[in-house]
Every structure is written in structure tokens, then in C-alpha cells.
């Protein structure tokens, strides 16, 4: 129980990863497009295949994958630094993001030699972008109830039927890793689920973008109508999808991606304040955000140290994600109120657009990657309450 808190040992980013930061900054200084803050604020929703390929050419897609597959074989700390730099700069990372963070490591861990040989070099070259098919119309937080089904076919392959929703960026991806039911029925819950790599160009796959409230269309709905999958579309073992997915989510939840979703807005606001005559009125707010971010980053670095040591801090990652998204959601809430403090005042238009965008999408921060309520349940389990 108290072990959960003891698991957050204080750690710092080691020198090799600190040194790596300078390389990343050099790269971003020349290769990152110049974009206004409201576009940079989209960062991990921002798709730019050219940027992802330049990053891949530099060797930084598939950063934790083995070198034999074209990966950079960097440790968790170096990846932390890379991601931290990309996100604080507001780089458009949506193209390669999922493949780098989740799909690549998953295939490296559970894939067959042939799957590794086929997919990993393409991921590392920025040629294969992946999306994650977990949610369904009736199965979001209740992930174990997924109903999309892969049925064994006579040729040893599978027939896929069903649909996924809230899939980020499927319209720009070549592949999806989908969690689907391969045996039993929904009452079997976690049993009988498997992960499949679905080539999105196959006949029977339809991707429909969903426009969101900001005018963007990053989410999609993906339909599978009798899609014919080859036998080697299965990743890992049939029926082991649940365990595989949970290991995968530990990568997703603890990293810098859970601290920096609103950072472009915060930095833009601070820049505007620096030129403003009444900055002194906002010092406490600025200082509070800095104090919160400092503590959150310590939590995230602590988790990264566990990942670097080969552990899988699933519960700790849930804790970091929940408190991290709380911080990410407070930033637009507070800044928005301050921008509306004086109805007569001119507001920097770029800041206003950035704040509006972040405010509108901030509710999704505590939905994606596991809802707040699911995460708090996981923490409670870690505390021995269930």
C-alpha cells in the first residue's frame, strides 16, 4: 500500500540524456517549421509527414527500438528528453508518435521475427505510421467489452468485422493495431481478446474523420466490413491481447506527454506578460504553474527511471497521468479567466486563439489513454483498496 508512494524514488535525468538534449535542440532549430502558437499547441495532434520523416532520417523515430531494425536503441531517459523537447516546442508529432511510443515497442516485444523485420524498419524510416484501435462506440472505458471480432478463416487468416471510434489520425496512417475479440464472447471480458495489425489500405476498411469542436478532424471512426487479414496480422498470442495492451499503456501514461499538453499556451502567455506593464499582478499565478510543473516532472522522471530499469510501473503511471492532466486542464482554465478579466482590453490575437483551442480540447486530456475515473480506480487498486 504505502509501497506505491515509496515507488516514487527521486531521480534526475542522467548526463548522457542531458547531453542528448542539445542535439535535439539543434535539430529543432533547423528542421522544425515556424508556426504560430495556436498551431504549435496542437503538437501531438499536429500531423506533418515531412517533419516526421526528417526526424526519422535523423534517427529519432523508433528511438527505443534495436539498431538492427533501424532504431536508435536509446534508453527511456533519452526518449524522455526527446519527447520533452518536441512537445515544449510544439512540434507536429502526430505522424510518427503512436508508432514510436506504442506500436513499435509492442511489435518489438511480442512480434514474430518476420513482423519485426517488416514493420520496425518502416517505422524507423518514418514510412509506417500507426494508430491505436481500442475504443468502440459501446466500449470506451469498459475496454474489455470490445465487440469487433476477428473470425478464423479457412486459409489460416482472419475475417475482421466491426468498428473502432475515437481513433486518432487513422486517415493519415498506414496501419492500425486493433484490440479485437478473437474467441469467446463479450461476457468473457478480458479473455479471448487479441491484437491485430490492420493494413488500412485493405478492401473493407473505411476511415471516416470526425470533425471536432475546434474545426479540426483528428479523430476518426474506422469500419471493418469483412476485412480479410493474413495469419501474420496477429501480434503476440491469440487471447493475450489484454495483457499486451496493459503493458503498452504503461508507456503511454507516465511520459512527458502527460505534462506538456498546455505548455505552448502557458509559454505564450508568459511571453506576452513579459512585455506587459501589469505582469506583476500575475506573478503568483505564473509561479504556481512553475511549482506544479516542477513537481509533476519529478514524478514523471521517477517513472522514467523505473522504465529505464526495465520495470513496468503501470500503477505509478496512472497516478502521474491523473495528476498531470489535472495540471494540463488548469492552465487553460486559469489563463482563459485572466484573458477575460477586462472586457475593454485588447488581447494578443495569437494568445487568444491558442487559449481558445486548448480550452476547447482540454476536456479530452482526461479521456484519452484512460479516463480519470478508470485511472483513480487503478490507483486505488495499487493502494490495496480493491
Amino acid at each position: 500500500m504505502a509501497n506505491l508512494l515509496d515507488n516514487f524514488a527521486y531521480a534526475t535525468v542522467p548526463p548522457h540524456a542531458q547531453a542528448f538534449r542539445a542535439e535535439v535542440r539543434d535539430f529543432l532549430a533547423t528542421e522544425m517549421p515556424t508556426l504560430p502558437a495556436d498551431v504549435r499547441a496542437r503538437s501531438w495532434m499536429g500531423f506533418d509527414a515531412g517533419f516526421s520523416r526528417r526526424l526519422a532520417a535523423r534517427g529519432w523515430v523508433g528511438v527505443t527500438l534495436p539498431q538492427e531494425f533501424g532504431g536508435a536503441a536509446l534508453d527511456a531517459f533519452s526518449r524522455f528528453v526527446l519527447v520533452e523537447e518536441l512537445l515544449t516546442a510544439g512540434a507536429p508529432v502526430a505522424g510518427h508518435w503512436i508508432a514510436d511510443r506504442q506500436s513499435g515497442p509492442l511489435i518489438a516485444k511480442y512480434g514474430t521475427p518476420a513482423q519485426k523485420a517488416f514493420y520496425l524498419p518502416r517505422i524507423c524510416a518514418g514510412e509506417a505510421f500507426f494508430c491505436i484501435g481500442m475504443s468502440e462506440p459501446n466500449s470506451g472505458s469498459d475496454l474489455a467489452s470490445v465487440g469487433t471480432r476477428a473470425t478464423p478463416a479457412a486459409d489460416g487468416g482472419w475475417r475482421l468485422n466491426g468498428r473502432k471510434i475515437w481513433t486518432t489520425n487513422a486517415q493519415n496512417c498506414q496501419y492500425m493495431i486493433a484490440l479485437v475479440r478473437s474467441s469467446g464472447d463479450p461476457q468473457d471480458r478480458q479473455k479471448g481478446l487479441s491484437q491485430f495489425i490492420v493494413d488500412l489500405s485493405l478492401p473493407g476498411v473505411t476511415v471516416r474523420p470526425i470533425e471536432d469542436l475546434t474545426g479540426d478532424a483528428h479523430f476518426t471512426e474506422v469500419f471493418f466490413d469483412d476485412v480479410s487479414l493474413a495469419a501474420d496480422a496477429l501480434v503476440g498470442a491469440e487471447g493475450q491481447g489484454w495483457e499486451q495492451v496493459n503493458a503498452e499503456l504503461a508507456f503511454e501514461r507516465s511520459g512527458p506527454e502527460r505534462l506538456y499538453s498546455s505548455i505552448v499556451l502557458l509559454d505564450r502567455w508568459i511571453e506576452v506578460l513579459r512585455d506587459s506593464p501589469d505582469a506583476s499582478r500575475h506573478l503568483a499565478t505564473v509561479g504556481r504553474f512553475a511549482a506544479h510543473l516542477a513537481a509533476l516532472r519529478h514524478l514523471s522522471v521517477s517513472c522514467t527511471a523505473r522504465l529505464a530499469a526495465g520495470e513496468s510501473p503501470v500503477i505509478e503511471a496512472a497516478l502521474v497521468k491523473d495528476i498531470g492532466t489535472t495540471f494540463e486542464q488548469e492552465i487553460p482554465a486559469v489563463i482563459s479567466a485572466l484573458l477575460g478579466e477586462d472586457p475593454q482590453a485588447d488581447v494578443d490575437a495569437e494568445l487568444l486563439r491558442t487559449c481558445a483551442y486548448v480550452s476547447q480540447v482540454a476536456p479530452t486530456y482526461s479521456l484519452r489513454g484512460g479516463t480519470r475515473e478508470i485511472l483513480r480506480g487503478m490507483i486505488a487498486r495499487g493502494l490495496g483498496l480493491r
Binding site: 500575475h282 506573478l283 513537481a295 495528476i323 483513480r376
Partner: protein
């Protein structure tokens, strides 16, 4: 290893009954002597002065324990004074730190001094020098808060003066209290979690109710964040940096309200009774939130430094974490 040895003593000698007795006015010297005679006051003194020369990060574990056991003595301050004062200059006194100092017509006034009611020496900073006051002739101004050992102090006798190392005293005061808060929070959290597992209502332990689970999960987040925020002020070097201490004190102080509130909410009415031990920790959390500056004091300090730095916020906090 020093922390383990200290905990052995605290477990036996600093029980909740002892804490209550000292708060009620019993002689603190028995507990003080037990710790002083074991040499713990000299943990931060240099080895050349017969001390342990304990690195700052290891000292954090010691300060954490003092919070965890609600130690009713200014031990953390007395230990840190050995690092602030020149070798051999620290008196064999129950020494505490003054968060503030005012020059008055006939002497000096130090408001809201933690352990001011029992301390026998006070170290203050007048902006030019460190002033070491003997409390023998001090006028003590109790806060009137029940069981509190904080007090204002008025001095007329001349203090001893020592060279001042920037804002080291201010940083130590904040950093120590951040660690004490983190320690007391850890204990309050353990008690609350245990109570949630034991207390039964509607036929099952209240910890089985989702509403309680979610409160405890959020409390765990606050406690974990506070612990690492406090720890970060105890990095390299021999003294906490001012901004590192500011980040630590601001974050831990802000967490006091939700942590204490949840601890009491889960405990129900028993939690606020004098006979139940939870109050030993939550009273301190509330008092230490103010001691050496609450978040309302430190947030603008951090904010000004961030604006002055010209750096993006992530660079700013990272540079402080590395320093």
C-alpha cells in the same frame, strides 16, 4: 543509515503520548537529550568539527522522519544551524529559525517563530548578518493557538553576529518545512488508508466505496507530488538553493489543504478529536503551511524569477532541478 538509527529512537521515545505531553508543557529535555546525546544534532556539521558531514540528500530522509513523528522540538533547525554557522559557533541550545525579523526601538521582534515557545536560541537574518539570539531574557508572545509551540519573540539583549551566506537561512527555513510537511503528510496518508480499510459501514469497509477510493487516489497524488517536490530542494551542495526551496515549500504548502481535508473527511468525526492521533499531523500541516512563507509568499517569488529568466517554463524548472 542515520535515518534508520534516528527512527529507532523516535519510535521508542517520541510516541504520540510524548508528543502530547510536550505540547502540554512537559519538559522537552528528556527527548531532546536522547537525540542530542546520540550525536544527531551534529549530522550536518563538517567532519573536521566532529560532525557526520551528511550530504544534503541524505539529510532529507532525516527531516522527513521528524515530520513523520510530529517531533515537538526544533530538531531540524538545530541540525541545520550547524551548517549555517561557522565551525564551533553553534550553541548547545534548542535552536530554532526566525522566519522574519523586525528592528524595534528597544530591541528586535521575530513574529511566528516555529517552536518559539520552547526554543532556547533563535537564529535570524537581518539582511546583513545572521543574528543569534539567546532566549534567556526573551519575551515570548504565544499565538494562542491550542497546542501550538509557535510564538513571537522579543529580544532586548544584543545578539551574536555571524557572516551571512546570501539567503541561506530563508532557504533552509522553507526547505526544512517542506520536508517536515512531506513527512507529516505521509503519516496522515497511511493512517487514512488504514482507516479506510478498517472502518466498516453499510456492511463493508468504506475503502470499498468508489467515492472513497477516488478521494484516496487523489490524496496519494498530492502526497507523492509533495514528497518529490520537497526532496528536490535537497540536492547537491551543502545548502538548499532559494528557488529550489521556494518550489518545494510552495508545492507542499498548497497540498496541505486537500491532504488534511481528505484525511479528515475519510476519518469522519473521530479524526478531529484530541484523543485520536491524526490531529498531531494535520495540526502541524496547517501550521507548517504558514511557517517560513505559505504558497502565497513563494509563488510570486518563483513567478518573478521565471519572468526575469526570459526562459520557457520547462527550461526554467529544469535548470533548477539540475542545479
Amino acid at each position: 543509515m542515520f535515518a534508520e538509527a534516528l527512527e529507532d529512537i523516535l519510535r521508542d521515545r517520541c510516541t504520540p503520548a510524548v508528543v502530547r505531553a510536550i505540547e502540554a508543557g512537559d519538559d522537552p529535555m528528556l527527548l531532546w537529550s536522547a537525540i542530542a546525546e546520540a550525536g544527531f544534532l551534529e549530522l550536518l556539521a563538517p567532519e573536521s568539527a566532529g560532525g557526520a558531514g551528511l550530504p544534503l540528500d541524505e539529510f532529507f530522509e532525516v527531516a522527513l522522519l521528524l515530520g513523520r513523528y510530529a517531533v515537538p522540538l526544533p530538531l531540524a533547525q538545530s541540525m541545520a544551524a550547524r551548517a549555517l554557522l561557522p565551525e564551533g559557533a553553534c550553541p548547545a541550545a534548542m535552536l530554532t529559525f526566525a522566519p522574519g525579523l523586525r528592528r524595534e526601538a528597544d530591541g528586535w521582534c521575530c513574529p511566528q517563530v516555529p517552536f518559539g515557545a520552547i526554543a532556547t536560541a533563535v537564529l535570524a537574518d537581518d539582511g546583513d548578518a545572521l543574528l543569534l539570539f539567546d532566549c534567556q531574557d526573551a519575551q515570548r508572545l504565544p499565538t494562542g493557538v491550542a497546542h501550538s509551540q509557535a510564538a513571537g519573540l522579543r529580544f532586548t539583549a544584543e545578539p551574536q553576529r555571524f557572516a551571512r551566506d546570501g539567503q541561506a537561512l530563508r532557504a533552509w527555513g522553507a526547505a526544512l518545512h517542506a520536508a517536515l510537511i512531506a513527512g507529516a503528510m505521509a503519516r496522515a496518508f497511511e493512517m487514512t488508508l488504514q482507516y479506510g480499510n478498517e472502518r466498516s459501514q453499510f456492511g463493508k469497509s468504506i475503502g470499498k466505496f468508489q467515492a472513497i477510493q477516488h478521494q484516496l487516489s487523489v490524496m496519494a497524488e498530492q502526497v507523492a507530488a509533495s514528497r518529490l517536490a520537497a526532496r528536490a530542494a535537497f540536492g547537491a551542495g551543502t545548502a538548499p538553493g532559494l528557488l529550489q526551496a521556494a518550489l518545494a515549500k510552495a508545492r507542499t504548502s498548497e497540498a496541505v489543504v486537500p491532504v488534511a481535508a481528505t484525511a479528515h473527511a475519510v476519518h469522519g468525526a473521530i479524526g478531529v478529536t484530541a484523543e485520536y492521533d491524526l490531529q498531531l499531523y494535520t495540526r502541524r500541516l496547517q501550521e507548517w503551511r504558514l511557517a517560513h512563507g505559505s504558497e502565497a509568499h513563494w509563488h510570486p517569488v518563483i513567478g518573478q524569477a521565471l519572468l526575469d529568466s526570459g526562459a520557457p517554463v520547462a527550461d526554467f524548472i529544469r535548470d533548477l532541478a539540475a542545479a
